[in-house]
């Protein structure tokens, strides 16, 4: 009798416990880029609590620095380990998908496609299959030091290549040690120059997988930017060495450079390091057409996760409509379509609005498996051109390398 009561009590306890959660609970490991989980008060944790309460699944967050994320993901997942759900830079999706490390979510995400902005949504697709959904998006804009611009006798931020050059030259003063525009070296510089190739009407790799790296449009764009340094001396010497955003932003923050091409991540850095600096943000100056480069992070599910359903549920939860409010708390832009309505844009902080306003001109970088290597090729090309190598020659060599990578 005693055993019967004991077993009965246990059964009631278990059933009561199960009754509080819908279905069987799963434990999920989520890797996010470190700024999203910078402390216990980070908004992500509150959002995950809601997810846990709603679905009964548990989520363990592990923060990984951006610079180490790609390598750590490749190493961990190649060994059969790694997170169930991961945040990944949109440029890494193709490489991970090509290696068979990401779960194919084409079927589950098809009904959701219209909820996202087309550019960022396409950034999660590789060879016709969807592998990731966009968590947040960003793009590159022109950040201008208003005081330096006014002192240079210019009354509005540049909107064309000609105006960009004129403003950069006007703000350059060798005696004062001021320059027009801060630019990065190698990979940083490559990221900043991609929009200029598209603005010139050029392409990097077309939909058929053909390289256009050495096309006249690309040569014209690279030549235009490089001459701002080699001829006009309108870029500080840091263009030779700046290998991270801190170093790209530094001349602008120190008011030694009047402009910088960067994304929304620059805002916090500028406000923190130069709280009195008066700056404004503008869409990138146009060439033949408007274009900017899309960045941002996606969420994807690891191939072979023990909880594929719960993992996708988490991806959908964090990237859906809730992301407008969630990403707003991080001063980042949601990649949902709802975030692009005039009402939603009006609710954004003033300095974020130009980024969202030019979102429609956003180009994703080519979604090819070897993009990380190609980005390195572009980085070396940029390094060579700013050291005096003719753009046509450097791009011809880069084109050959890109073609080799495409053929591999």
């Amino acid at each position: 009798m005693r055993n019967f009561l004991k077993n009965g009590t246990m059964a009631v306890a278990i059933l009561t416990g199960l009754g509080t959660v819908p279905g069987w609970a799963d434990n999920l490991v989520l890797w996010v880029n470190a700024p999203l989980a910078s402390g216990p008060d980070a908004p992500l944790y509150a959002e995950l609590k809601k997810f846990e309460a709603e679905t009964g699944n548990k989520v363990e967050v592990q923060a990984v620095p951006h610079m180490e994320m790609e390598r750590n993901l490749f190493v961990a997942m190649s060994g059969g380990a790694g997170p169930d759900v991961m945040a990944l830079d949109i440029a890494w999706v193709a490489g991970l998908a090509d290696a068979g490390l990401l779960m194919d979510i084409t079927e589950q995400s098809a009904p959701l496609a219209s909820k996202y902005q087309p550019g960022p949504f396409a950034g999660g697709r590789y060879e016709g299959k969807q592998y990731a959904l966009p968590l947040y998006t960003n793009n590159a804009a022109l950040i201008v030091n208003d005081k330096m611009l006014a002192q240079a006798g210019i009354d509005k931020a540049p909107t064309t290549w000609g105006e960009l050059r004129a403003a950069a030259v006007a703000m350059t003063n060798a005696e004062k040690g001021t320059y027009g525009i801060s630019f990065g070296s190698n990979r940083m510089g490559a990221f900043q120059l991609y929009p200029f190739i598209w603005q010139a009407g050029g392409e990097i790799i077309d939909d058929k997988g053909k390289s256009h790296v050495a096309d006249p449009e690309a040569i014209g764009a690279v030549d235009f930017l490089a001459k701002l340094y080699t001829q006009d001396k309108a870029m500080p010497e840091s263009v030779l060495t700046a290998g991270n955003w801190d170093e790209v932003h530094a001349p602008f923050i120190q008011e030694r450079a009047g402009m910088v091409i960067s994304g929304d991540w620059a805002i916090a850095a500028i406000k923190k390091n130069a709280p009195n600096l008066a700056f404004s943000i503008h869409p990138l100056p146009q060439g033949k057409k408007a274009a900017t480069v899309i960045g941002g992070y996606n969420l994807a599910v690891r191939q072979g996760t023990a909880a594929p359903k719960a993992a996708f549920q988490l991806v959908e939860w964090l990237t859906g409509d809730r992301s407008i409010e969630l990403m707003g708390k991080y001063q980042r832009l949601s990649a949902t379509a709802a975030a692009t309505t005039p009402e939603a844009i009006a609710k954004l902080p003033k300095e974020m609005q130009p980024f969202m306003a030019q979102a429609s001109a956003g180009h994703p970088r080519p979604v090819v498996a070897s993009w990380s290597e190609m980005h390195g090729v572009f980085g070396n090309m940029w390094d060579a051109v700013i050291r005096g190598r003719p753009a046509a020659e450097a791009l011809a060599e880069a084109n050959a390398e890109v073609e080799n990578l495409l053929a591999r």
Binding site: R71, F74, D98, N186, L240, T241, G243, Q254, N380
Partner: protein, 314 residues
Amino acid sequence: MTTRTRETTRLKPHWSSIFENGRGARLYPYLLVMPAILIAIGVVVYPVVSGITSAFYDVTLRTLNSGDMPFVGMRNFERVFADPNFMRASLNTVIWVLLNVVAQLGLGLALALLLHRIVPGIGFFRSGILVPWVVPSVVAVLTWRWMYDPSVGIVNEMLVRLGVINDYHPWLGDTATALYAVTVESIWKGTPFVMLLLLAALQLVPKSILEAASMDGASGWRMLWHVILPQIRVSFAIAAVLTFILTVNNFNAIWLMTEGGPLNSSEILFTLAYKYGFQRFDLGRASAVATMLFVGLVIATTIYLKLIQAKEAD
């Protein structure tokens, strides 16, 4: 008179008694070292063998994930040799190692001789000179990176004020100076370790030998060359081998300061292997470079130690 008889107590047989004699006793020491051997095999031998083996297989992310890694013989080595960056990285590695080893040994010896003297406050200088070695390498490298900054770096400011250069120079951004700029940081960081080894050796040199040499008229360079150096040659050899190995493997300095750039001008074999492995995810090719580096290190170290032994025998 009472006599005390010693009671012979026999220990109760226990399972461990089998190790007291016979085969068990012979096996006992081997069993004691077995855990250490197994750990050494797991953390040293296996990774080395696995790394060398990978050099002969097509190991990429795709093949790694599918588990189908075909044997490719010497193909990875051929691809490495076909890469123009490999020759450049090899040459840079030789320059990098030579400059580091020679400068660190020379400066380390000079500092050790200087700090060997007993003068008031010598403890402060001995401790102070160790600061570069104690500073975490990442902190040191990032500090030097800012010191070399082409616009606000203190190195440029000092050189301009001293009249060595007229204008600020992008030391890390110039293909002609990047490798040497990183080498200066590496020498600054590594010299105190050599100094410490040699200072310890100097303090063990018997005073009577130095006094005898002094009475015989030896001084200055002759004293150093014919008396002091032979006395500390074993420590000197150890310092040379360790500096050589640490320099070849000094990934942090180059990676954090230049990532092998600009335009591969400061690429060494270690950073090239890292790029193959963790930027291009071509682990077969990365293993090929690492294998060559490993074999080179073993050969160079063996030759050096044999030369020292031969000299010892003379």
